[in-house]
Symmetry: D2
C-alpha cells in the first residue's frame, strides 16, 4: 500500500502520516519525489488496514500496489532514483553514464594502482576490485580481504575514484561498508536474504547483481529486501544468466534493462565481463548495454590478464578499456545519457 | 579440407584443381576472395585423400579445417560475405546496415501496401511478410499463401523493396524462390535438414533463423547444410532463444553476433521482434543489435497491430519504426556501418 | 468445441451430427469411447457457431474446450488411447508396457539382425532403427534409406517385431509409411508443421518426439496438428530437453509423463538413450521412466557400440538391455502396467 | 593429491603421514575405508609438493586427483558414505532408503505434531520443517525461528524422528546445529561459500540442496567446501533446476542421481515436492527417484495444505504420503535398497 501526499504537504503532515502508519503496526517508507512525497507501507501480511489514512491532512490518495515488490516499483516512486556520491559530481542513474572498472581481484598494491591509474585516466568514475572472492573451489584464491579494502581506500584518496567491492557474508559486509563507497552483493548471494536484510540496514549504496537464474520479479524482490529495511539506494546489475548456450560463459540478457526501467525507478548497470566471460565479447556487449539504455557498465580490466589470479580470460586490457569508453561515449547521447569522464572530487571526504 | 590457390592462379588452374577434387570423389566449392581463391572440399567421411593436390599448378597450400563447419568458416573464406541484389544498391553484409521490415503476416493487399509504403518511406530496403505461417496451433491463421507472394511481388515492383518471406517445406520453397528475393527458413525449421538441402540447391539468398535452442555450432552447421549444396548466400539471423526468463517471450542473445563474426564470414541480422515478443522492447534491442555489430535488423511493423492476425503485441507502429531507423542510423558509424535509407533500383528486374 | 453424444446414440445420429458440423463449415472428428462417442469440432477461427447441434437427436451436450489442443485433450476423450497392431497382441498404452529397442542407425543387414534377434529374445516388442538420419553435420552418415527400410521389413517378417523408424520430410514419410508399422517424427521436426499435417493424413501410428525446447502445450499442439487431419493414433515420446546442465547430453524431463497423462489420453513413451546421451545413465533412467508411469521405453541397443556409425556412446549392450527388461518388468506392476515379453504374432500380415 | 595407505598401515603411520602433510603446509583429511585409509590433501595452490610422502612407512601410493573436487570424489574414498544417527538404527546412504517428511514451515505446535505423528506412523525416519524460511518476498511469513526448533526437538524426543531443518546464515546455523540432527543448506545458499565453510566446521550431517542452476561440478564443489573444513558428513539433495519448461515449478533432474553416484561417495536424496511444485506430480516423481537409485526422498506433507503458510500446492496429504511409502518400498529392492519403516531409537540421546 502506498500513501501519496499532496504536492504542498508539509514535513509535519508527512511525519504525522508516518506516525499513524507505525501506530497501525506497519512500517512507513517516505520517498520524496520531485513533485510530491509518496510513503510506502510494508509489514502487512495480506491487505493492510487503511486506518483513517485517507482523511489525514496532506494526503492525496491511498493506493494499493499490485506488484509483489512495492518500494522498488515505479508505482511508489515515478522518478528515476539517482545515487549521488558525497564530495563528487559522480552519479549513478539520472542521465549520466556510469563507468565502473578494475580487476576481478585485488592482487597487490602495485597491481591495483597500475590498473586504477589507467582506468581513471581513460574516464572511469568508479573502481571495482575483489577483496573477498566467492570462488567455486575452496582451494582457489579467496582474495586479500582487509588488505585489499585498504588498498582500494588509498586509491580513492589518491585518485578520487569511488570504490565498489563485494561483501560475501554479514561479517564482511560491515568491513566493506566501512571502507568502500558501494557494497556489492554478488549473483550467488542475490537470494541470500539474510545478507540482503543486513545490507538494508546500511545507509550507503548497494550494487545488487542478478542471480544466474533469477527472473525479473525475483531480481526486484531481492532489491525490495534491501529497501524494506530502509536502504533505498539500490543499484541493479545484469551480469548474464545461465542457459544452454555455450559460446559465452553466461548469456547476457540485455532486454532486462528496458524491462527493469519500465517497472522500477532503480538504476541498472550491465557487466559484460561476467556476462560473456570472453575478452573479445566485452566491447561489443558494453556498446550494446549502453544502446539498450543501461545506466552504465561495469567491466573487468587487467594490465596483465594472463597473470591474473582470477577471471583473466574475461578481463580487457587498459587500451581496450579506453576504446570502450570512446565508443560508449558516442552512443550515450542517442539514448539521452552523458558520460562524464573521470570524477570531479569536491572534497577529500568519503 | 581446403585448397588455397596462389594470388596469381588462373581460372584454368582453379578449374583443374576442382576437376581433380571431383576425380578424388569429393565436391569442390571454389570461393573467390579479394586476394585469392580458396576451394573448400566436402563429401569426405573422415580425412580426405589429398591426391596430388599440393603439387598442382597454382596451389599455394592444402590445409585441414578443424571446425565441423567448413564452408561457413572464416578458415575457408576470410572476407565477409556480402549479399547483393541485382538491379539495386542494396546489400546485406559488408559495412551496410540492412533494415528489413513488414508485418508478421500478409493479411490483405491493402494492409501490405499500407505498411510497405510507410517502411519504405522511413528507410527500409527490404520488406518481410508471412505468406506461409508456421503456427503453433493447426487452427490458427496459416497465411494467405500464393496470394501473399503475389502481393509482395507487386510491392517489389511498385516500391523497389526487396522481398524476404518464409518457406515452410520443400513445396513452398519452390514457390517462395519464384516470387521472393530472399527465402527465409524459420527457427522451427533450422534443423529441418531436408529443407536446408533443398534451399542449398537454390541460387538465391537464404535467411536462416537460429533455432530456439540452437548452439552456435548447430547454427553454423545448419548454414553449412545449405552451403554444402552449393548455395553460399546465407544470411544468419538471431531471433532469441528459449530460457527460464519470463519478462520477454524469448531471450535475445546479442552476444552471438560477435561470436558468429569471429568464426564465420556470413552476415548476421537480429530480429528484436521475435527476440522479445514485446513492442516496448523492440527499439532498445534494435539499438543494442546494431551497437554489438549486427549487419542489420529485421522487425515486425503493423499499422494496426491490435487487429493483426498474428504477433500483434510485438509489432511496432510505423512511427516507432521511423524513430528506430533514426536511432540505429546514428549508432551505425560507431561500429563502421552505414545505413543507406531506402533502396535505389537501377532496373526493374528481379 | 465438442459434441458429446448420448450413450445410446445410433450410428445414424452420429453421422447426422457430423454432417451438420460439415454443413456449418467445420470438420467433425468422431471419437468413440467405452461409454459414448464424442465428436470434436475443428476448423473454426475463434468460437464455433453451434447451429442447432444441441437439439439434434442423440446429442447429450455441446461443450466448449478451453485448451488450445482439443482432439489431444482428455476433455474430448476421457479413456486412454490404446494403439493396437494388427495381427499381434502388441499394444502401446492401456496398461501394457511397450519396449522399443534397436540401433540408432541401420548400418547393414548383419548388424540389424544381430541386434534385432537379441532384443527380441530379451523381450522387446518393437524394433527401432534409423533409415533416414537427421544429422547435425551434412558430412555425417545420413542413413541407408530405402535399403534400411527393407532390412527392417525383413526383421518384422522373420522375428515378428513391429518396426518404428523416422521420416524426415514429406517424401520419406510416404516411404516409411509403406514399409514400417509406426512413423517416427523426430525432435528436430516436432514443429515442422508441414510434416505433421502429412503424417495426419496417414492412417497408421505416429511416434512424436518432444522438441528440444518444447513446452507441454507445444508438444500437445504438435500432436493436435496430426490429429486435426484425422489421424488419432499418436504416441508421444519424451527424449530430454536442453538445459544448462552438462552431465548429460539432454535433461530427461520425467515429470512430463504424469503431466501429459493428466491432460491428454495419448500414450507416452520415454527415450532414456537420447535423454541422457550416456550408456551408464540409460538403465537408471529407464527404471525411472517406468516408475513415473510411462507407457514404455525406447532405447538404443548396439552389439558393437564402439563401431556404431552414430550415437555409439549412448547405445547399451544387448546384455544391459536384458537386464533393463528384467528391472522394468519388476517395477511395472507397482504402476499398474504389465510387460508382455516379446510379441505374439497372430498372422503374418502387416 | 591423495595418499593411499597400505591395508596393514598402523594408526601411528597414518598419524605420521598427516603430520608430514601439515609440515609441508597443507591440510590432511584421513578417510578410513573398509580396506584401507586414504588421506586427502588440501590447501595447495596448483600441484602439491610431495615431500618424501611416497617413502614413508605404510604408504601404498601417492596419486594426483584430477577432479576439482577431491574429498567428495570416489577417487579419494571408494566406498559409499553412510550417515548414521547416534542412538538409532537410521542411516542415510549405504543401502537403506531414507524417508524425510514434514511441512514446509512449522506453523504451530499442533500443526507440527499432527503431521509428525502421521508421517511417523506411515514410515518416515526423519522429520523436516522450516524454522527459518528463505522467502522470495520480505513481506512473506519468515518462519517461527527458535520456537520452531524447540517444537521439532520435542517431536524428536516424543516420536524418535530425527530432525532436518534449514539454516539461512551463520547465526541461524549455530542455532539449528544445537537443536536439530541434520542442518539443511537450501538451494539459494548452495554457493553461499561463507555459510558452507561454517557448516564445514560443524561435526554433524549437512543436507546440501542443489542450486537452481548448479552444474554437477558446482554441486560437488559446494560439498567440497563443507568437507574441506573437516566435516565429511554431507548429504546431497536434488530439488529441481530452472529451465524453460512450465508444466512444473522446476525441472526435476533425476539423471543427476546416477551421475553423482559415479563420481562421489556421498549419499543423494531427491525432493520431488520442490522439484515439481505440484501435489499430483510428487508421488510419480518420488517413485522415479527411488527407481533411478536415490538414497531416499524428502517430501512436504501437510494435513491441511490449503491452509499452509507456505508451499501448500506442493504438499501432499498424509494419506498420499502413506501410499508413497508403500510404492517406494516395493521399488526399493529392485535397486538394492531397503526401506526401514520408521525409526528404532536405542537411547534417548541426540
Amino acid at each position: 500500500m502506498l500513501v501519496v501526499m499532496k504536492a504542498q504537504a508539509t514535513e509535519e503532515q508527512i511525519k504525522a502520516v508516518c506516525d499513524h502508519i507505525e501506530f497501525l503496526g506497519y512500517r512507513p517508507h517516505p520517498m520524496p519525489g520531485a513533485q510530491r512525497t509518496a510513503i510506502g507501507i510494508t509489514g502487512n501480511q495480506g491487505e493492510a488496514n487503511r486506518g483513517n489514512l485517507e482523511e489525514m491532512p496532506g494526503v492525496a490518495e491511498v493506493i494499493k500496489v499490485s506488484k509483489p515488490y512495492k518500494l522498488a516499483s515505479r508505482d511508489v516512486k515515478e522518478e528515476d532514483t539517482v545515487i549521488r556520491f558525497a564530495g563528487t559530481d559522480a552519479t549513478i542513474g539520472g542521465g549520466s553514464l556510469a563507468v565502473v572498472a578494475g580487476p576481478c581481484s585485488i592482487e597487490s598494491r602495485e597491481q591495483a594502482f597500475a590498473i586504477a591509474e589507467q582506468v581513471a585516466a581513460a574516464g572511469a568514475q568508479f573502481f571495482r576490485g575483489g577483496a573477498y572472492k566467492p570462488r567455486t573451489s575452496p582451494y582457489a584464491f579467496q582474495g586479500l580481504g582487509l588488505d585489499a579494502l585498504k588498498i582500494m581506500a588509498e586509491i580513492r584518496d589518491r585518485l578520487g575514484l569511488r570504490i565498489i567491492t563485494e561483501a560475501i557474508d554479514n561479517e564482511t559486509l560491515d568491513l566493506v561498508a566501512e571502507w568502500a563507497d558501494v557494497v556489492q552483493i554478488g549473483a550467488r548471494n542475490m537470494q541470500n536474504f539474510s545478507l540482503l536484510k543486513h545490507a538494508g540496514r546500511l545507509r550507503m549504496p548497494v550494487l545488487l547483481k542478478r542471480g544466474m537464474s533469477a527472473t525479473l520479479d525475483e531480481f526486484l524482490m531481492a532489491a525490495e529486501y534491501i529497501m524494506s529495511e530502509g536502504n533505498y539506494e539500490v543499484i541493479l546489475c545484469e551480469r548474464g544468466v545461465r542457459t544452454f548456450a555455450d559460446h559465452t560463459r553466461n548469456t547476457l540478457d540485455l532486454s532486462i534493462v528496458p524491462a527493469v526501467q519500465k517497472l522500477s525507478h532503480l538504476p541498472i548497470l550491465v557487466d559484460p565481463s561476467h556476462g560473456t566471460g570472453k575478452r573479445d565479447k566485452v566491447l561489443p556487449m558494453a556498446r550494446g548495454a549502453v544502446a539498450v539504455g543501461a545506466d552504465g557498465v561495469l567491466v573487468e580490466v587487467h594490465h596483465q590478464p594472463e597473470k591474473a589470479l582470477s577471471d583473466g580470460p574475461q578481463s580487457i586490457y587498459p587500451e581496450q578499456f579506453a576504446q570502450m569508453v570512446n565508443e560508449i561515449e558516442q552512443i550515450a547521447p542517442i539514448v539521452n545519457r552523458k558520460l562524464h569522464r573521470g570524477i570531479r572530487v569536491e572534497t577529500a571526504a568519503k
